[in-house]
Symmetry: D2
Subunit: 346 residues, 4 copies
């Protein structure tokens, strides 16, 4: 099998480290370039990067010399986990220089011609790539994105419901992990014995991204899904795993059994990083829990529980995803696998 | 000023300890009896009780010998923090024996003839006492209760809105502190790096109690408030302080300024434990936070923040109260002060 | 390869669950019996056990019906993680009935004729088995034990030093994880924003066990190692991983390089669960850390860091081990593998 | 009583905020100047400072306009909590300009002519002030300091022992709170479910400061106390309160009762911030604990427990102090009260 040569932009950050971890021994990708800020450039990765994930830094990256974040890099595609401030300009530069840019940043997510992908839900949005290349004058390069990590915690069960019953309104309250803020991120002084009711910029992102994700590609653009989301976002004292408390109003309501089944049977894909179950619906009253369930399907499964009829809307449930795997680096890797599968990488 | 002689039922538990702490140097009450389970009875309180609150056990209780939880006790009124299992029978025994029972237990909260009080909101519900005494054949004894600690975190702003604009529907997601589960309560193994999406029996309590609290006393019973509450309840890693994420649909909507004002101007009372502000509405985007705001008004103020128009319902906000003070022992003490003020204790 | 049929005594507890997890797909063992308290007996394991480890309960145990903790069980050897109260009598019953008992309990650790094993350090102590069988009138059954989890965090580097330079005195202060207390174990109310300076019975265990572990088998008994240990034991807010702060006085002091080398080169074994490195000595000033290093060698490696000359004794260092793997279930599994390797299981 | 006009250097930091809190309603001091970095200067304190302590920012400072950190300031003495980088130069500038500088920084602590004070232990070191003024050509200005917060957790019981029995050697392992690192300080990602075995620069400070603190002023300089300290310092997941695990070798050993009594009877002073007991020695086996005991004596009492004979040295004990009160701002305020009491402020 051909191995694609990949670069990681922002390789020393926490999401960058997840990329390094997830791409070790990946059958389709080989990391050939690591790029990070000027302070790191020129050093071997083992010196440039303060490794923060459990387990040791993989040997395969230790000797790779970190390069500045600008084209050219010795690779065919780049995974980007750049901070919003620099992502927009830099990612465009790479796309313009002919690279496939698989971005975890928020910069391009809501651009009309940029796919915002959850492969199990909206792979047909890849049709935007051709439009994007034409409109922006890119050659073979292009940009695709994955959603905000909080959106990922509840968009999959929502998609399952929308497909079968139509979704009209959604209230979501998120309980988000500290790893979502990167490193050093949240001060221990702020989160110990505490809850933070505010994550800058998060609530609007959560409210708008899911309409695009669940939208339909009409051949030119995405027709946004026709529902409204109201989001309140909290930071809680959890290392990994975003939990969402959800109520949903359906257009055509149904029995609890059918709703349960709609989620449980929503198909996974056959990509390398695809979990066996895209959505796992559990019966135990006290699940899902971040520490116990975030690693289900190697962090790529969404776990749903506490699915009950609601006394105002139709249903309520609790949904969980691993924010730095399914909600960030793992999402981008899955997107890249989808690109190969659909023939977008030659 | 006359000092009423009070007993504490369940004095060695965490709420019992809060009673001991709050009643130290109280101008209207003097603790003259401490009652706890058979295991503790007969020992001085200093030996019977493993003190768990910050700061030392107050000297005044150290030598009091713990008694069994049954009448008679040397006092005029009793504060009860008995576990649900034994509360119903025991509290009735005390009421029948002529004691005013100020209960923090859930046993009688939803009984038709028992006041479920938040003094600032529904002191007129005290009218039920006479009906209760007649109906149950109590002599001068009676039972009053305070609400579930989670309900207290959002019922006050709800009352402010209901009074001015009418409330139609409420979605609430609670993020509750570990102290709400008593001691030993939540295992550290369950809550560290975790969120628990289930608190046994909590969601139904939260959904029904607020309708009674905001109801009107019609001379015989309480006409329940005419709105619906949908609750999802989570345990988070916070020691004290329940946070509520709330969306509310009003019957007559209004401007943000008026809504803000309705909450802020909701009057406090002039009782000894009354805070200066019943509801404190803050502007800072990152507040309220349990660790920083739970002690406002010595734990008796409700702090509201993040008050914004919602894009499905009318308004959203975050509300916080100290669950073992305003949501438990402090609530009961305030109820007792109200009894004196309204002439129910002679 | 022959697969030995094994039973787990106390299978539903936290250490029992670790046994279930570590024995899944083990090439030498097949779990054929699960035993737990009367409350659990008769139920399939999936119902009897509230699974508390990250990841799902392995499928292979779900249908096994839990049995009472008494012989006979359908197996050749038993792993025991019984609480001290019942371990002594029950483990003897199994040994007397012909089972090899590999115990994680403290009951027999200090018995003169019972091996207290860390395979890399004292496998020659297996010579006690024959003496034990003779003395106690066991047939082919016998009991072996692994050390207290806190001892394991520093005994390996101590053994490395003792072998090369002789150890005279050791000060150790342990910072122990909550999982060491089982489930529900430590109340979240006690450990959040806190340190507990007392673990019942722990300091004496830590002070005496290492002398036996590092002792020499003289053909009849163990000649205890000739050094003194002073231990202070703390519980800290960590899920897994015991950290030890150690100062050591040597009989023949040496250079830092030689001390470093003595630890680093201490050989691991070739058993199935043996880690590549028994002791890993790291250079980074901020390591070892429980969250980052406890899983090194799948939880079977001891990580040492901050090795420096001391200004009162000879050397100081910090040592870390995974308390429920290397310090409990993993230790017992390694002991069983050693039994096979040395021909004690037929 | 005369109120001295005081300034706070570094007023917006966490220790600066403690100063603001402790000086509210202080009978001897009135805060008349707040100084902070250029970014804050010119703004009212309520805008310049993100208040991080529990409870609201005191009203009395809200309108004070923050000034640059340089003389002149409208006050007679300054409390300094400047970071080490800038403290040395700035504090000298204030002293030279005639201000009494009461510093919490480490810059001058080990300077031969600068008192390193714990008032209960070494108030005679104030004799250095005159020498300092002469040597450095200061006019009426001068600098005094308080010790590193970790040293304060065990120096008081050490002083009690040294005075009565002579101390020869001390092993101390500290378990330090996150507030010791300031704000934002320790990343939540680093300390959650973790212990950090390294605090930059801390171990040497702990090893040398206590010898100066317990030294004797000989009329010209301090004769350092004649004992050796070996320190290992850890950061643990506690908000406030440093715990020390201590073993001590005495020159003249004594009974446990006498050692207990030596600590317990060590006298407190009669200054405004003096606690009733300087050292509180507790019997309960599970104390001291940071969350339960740090606020004893309003955070100014040192709590000792687990005092037992050691099996290598003479005694072992656990000692606790509130690191941002007794170990920082409270220490400096007490030092200032001592200056008044001893006539050093006119």
């Amino acid at each position: 099998m051909k191995k694609y040569r990949v670069g990681i932009l922002g390789a020393t950050g926490t999401v960058g480290q997840r990329f390094v971890q997830l791409l070790e021994n990946h059958p389709q990708f080989e990391v050939t370039a690591l790029a990070a800020s000027d302070r790191s450039a020129g050093k071997p990765f083992s010196q440039a990067c303060a490794w923060k994930l459990a387990g040791a830094m993989p040997d395969y990256v230790k000797e790779i010399v970190v390069q500045p974040i600008e084209p050219p890099l010795d690779c065919e595609l780049v995974f980007s986990s750049l901070p919003s401030g620099v992502a927009r300009e830099t990612e465009e530069a790479f796309a313009r220089a002919g690279y496939a840019v698989i971005s975890n940043s928020s910069s391009y997510r809501m651009d009309e011609d940029v796919p915002l992908l959850i492969p199990e839900i909206n792979s047909q949005h890849l049709g935007l790539i051709e439009i994007q290349q034409r409109k922006r004058g890119f050659g073979k390069g292009f940009i695709i994105t994955n959603p905000n990590c909080a959106v990922v915690s509840f968009a999959p069960p929502l998609a399952a419901l929308d497909r079968k019953f139509g979704v009209e309104s959604v209230f979501v309250t998120t309980l988000q992990a500290i790893s979502g803020a990167g490193y050093p991120g949240v001060s221990s002084f702020d989160i110990t014995d505490n809850v933070l009711p505010y994550i800058a910029g998060e609530e609007p992102k959560v409210e708008i991204e899911s309409q695009k994700i669940l939208g339909r590609f009409n051949g030119e653009t995405i027709d946004k899904a026709n529902f409204t989301v109201s989001a309140q976002c909290f930071r809680v004292h959890v290392i990994d795993g975003h939990t969402a408390s959800v109520r949903v109003k359906l257009r055509r309501t149904s029995t609890l059994e059918n709703v349960f089944e709609a989620m449980k049977s929503f198909p996974s894909l056959n990509l390398y990083s695809s979990p066996k179950h895209f959505i796992d619906v559990c019966d135990e009253p006290s699940r899902p829990q971040p520490r116990l369930d975030r690693d289900t399907g190697k962090g790529m499964t969404i776990t749903v529980g506490r699915l009950f009829p609601d006394n105002i809307f139709d249903y309520r449930f609790v949904s969980l995803s691993h924010n730095t795997v399914r909600g960030a680096a793992g999402a981008a890797v899955l997107n890249a696998e989808l690109l190969i599968d659909k023939g977008f990488l030659k």
